[in-house]
Amino acid sequence: MAGFAISFLISFYVFFLNILMTSLGMAFTYGVTRILNLAQGTFFVLGGYLASVFAWQIGLAFGIAAAAAASLAFGPLFYLYVKALGRTELEQLFATYALLLIGEGLFKLVFGNGNYTTASLADGLGSVEVLGQQVPYSYLWGGAVAAALLALMYLLLARTRAGLYMRAVRDDAEMASALGINVREVGLSASALGILITAASGAASSMWQAFTLGLSGQILVYAFASLVVGGIGDLLGVVAASAVISAVRTAAVFLYPQLELVAIYLVVIAVLLTRPSGLFARHARLA
């Protein structure tokens, strides 16, 4: 029984980490800029590809850090791209969808059809035995990265002036602008940060995830699920939502594997119908 419980917990933790990492950056970007980015998965995959390439040259930790740093430039570019092409939500969807396709094409061009991962390097980190089950250290390090990213985002949003501006823009961009906040600059820095977080998460995930073509789209729907359940743009909500979704999905896998995919989306639908602004929203947003 203890063996079952621990293997359930490990599976739960692994998927929780996966889904949290895919949705953190997206929650951040959407919260401030209101751009629903269909290409967010692309930046996650970019981080994973880059980390896998760099890690073989300069070692695992440096490789992951370098991948995150290399993707920093894409944030402002992304913001300018979307703002130049799309004023309405529909145009933004169109623009980011085009970006998703272009990203897939570029990945094929640059990285080819192979699987990219740092799993074999991460294996070298060893594992720790918990009640008779081996837990690889790579997952624990992944959890540490996620916790560090969350802490940084929290500190930024709650404790700094830039974070104050971001929260003001999130709540009401027009009012913030009237009060003298440069909404464009805040949007630029927020999307840069969101994409940095996404790429860093992707880079860290390369320790257990193999990156390949078509992953951008698969990642995206998981991220959507956790965003909806947590309340779009709510960081702590996203953490809790990832836990809820992972618990439901892991239970489905253990009890009735056919329902693996279905269970996740049934949760999403239930939340959308009962609490459209998310399970953990403190105040419901109108429209």
Partner: protein, 295 residues
């Protein structure tokens, strides 16, 4: 009056394609079938609803026929059409009924989740649905006779023409004006006396039926249906097609945009990196639209 030329134009184009050789015939069937799904996405866009799950209806139309063939062993076109309309219509009613509560991106995410539920069922319950391999789609028979490519092309053209006519009626009707009202200001439209929920429900059903018939035609043309029909990327393509159609001023815009999208996708396949070509084209369309819009 000119709008009524749309159905005639579609049938003329299909006839021309018939005499253009076997490849054009196949392409025309595929494009006309796919255009019906684009119609579904376009219709909902008229209400300001971005349905990222329209592919589910598309899949249901084809799966209805595929499952009937697998379990009841009938390839009768009338039975298949009825099943496709029934399945897609019921799905549209479900989508509309739950969608009424949500708007904007919440609607998009809800419809996406609904379609992913169907996708999950289609992939995971493989003993019934054939899993990720999908199902075989038979050559349809009308009164026991195989309708063949010519018959399929005629069917696709008639269906597309019928939906173009419906689009024309819709554009002139009370419902069309209500749709525009809902898109601009839902609360005000409701205050003016329109039953917003009912309008959205009915248009969801119509959009879903259109997409379901489209899936049926495409399934017939390739003799195959797979869960990819219900995957959100498929829906995304249809929404993009619907968006391009809404940029076009004609009632047959949905066929034109489907033809454009499919032609580009087909053309892109000769390159090693087809996504770059399609993505680049979408970007060009959007940029052109933005330039036009600024003036």
């Amino acid at each position: 009056m000119r709008g009524w030329l749309s159905p005639i134009a579609i049938i003329t184009a299909a006839t021309a394609a018939y005499f253009g050789g076997p490849f054009l015939r196949f392409a025309a069937v595929y494009i006309l079938g796919w255009s019906l799904a684009v119609f579904g996405a376009w219709l909902l866009l008229r209400y300001g609803l971005v349905n990222f799950g329209i592919g589910a209806s598309y899949a249901l139309g084809a799966y209805a026929a595929g499952l009937i063939y697998k379990y009841l062993h009938t390839a009768d076109l009338a039975v298949h059409l009825l099943a496709a309309v029934g399945a897609a219509g019921a799905w549209g009613a479900l989508n509309g009924a739950v969608g009424i509560k949500t708007r904007g991106i919440y609607y998009s995410l809800l419809s996406l989740s609904l379609s992913m539920v169907l996708y999950g069922v289609l992939v995971k319950f493989y003993t019934v649905t054939g899993g990720s391999d999908g199902l075989y789609m038979p050559d349809p028979r009308l009164l026991g006779v195989r309708i063949g490519t010519a018959g399929l092309l005629a069917l696709a053209a008639l269906l597309a023409a019928a939906w173009a006519a419906l689009g024309e009626v819709f554009g002139r009707s009370y419902a069309g004006h209500v749709a525009a009202g809902i898109k601009i200001n839902e609360l005000r439209t409701s205050a003016l006396g329109a039953d917003v929920g009912r309008h959205i429900l009915i248009s969801s059903v119509l959009a879903s039926i259109a997409a379901g018939l489209g899936g049926l035609i495409v399934g017939y043309s390739t003799s195959h249906v797979s869960p990819d029909f219900a995957y959100w990327v498929t829906s995304g393509k249809m929404v993009v097609g619907g968006l391009i159609a809404s940029f076009l001023p004609w009632t047959w815009g949905f066929v034109a945009s489907a033809a454009l999208y499919q032609a580009v996708e087909l053309y892109s396949l000769q390159f090693a990196y087809p996504e770059l070509v399609v993505g680049g084209l979408l970007l060009a369309i959007l940029a052109a639209w933005r330039l036009y819009y600024r003036r």
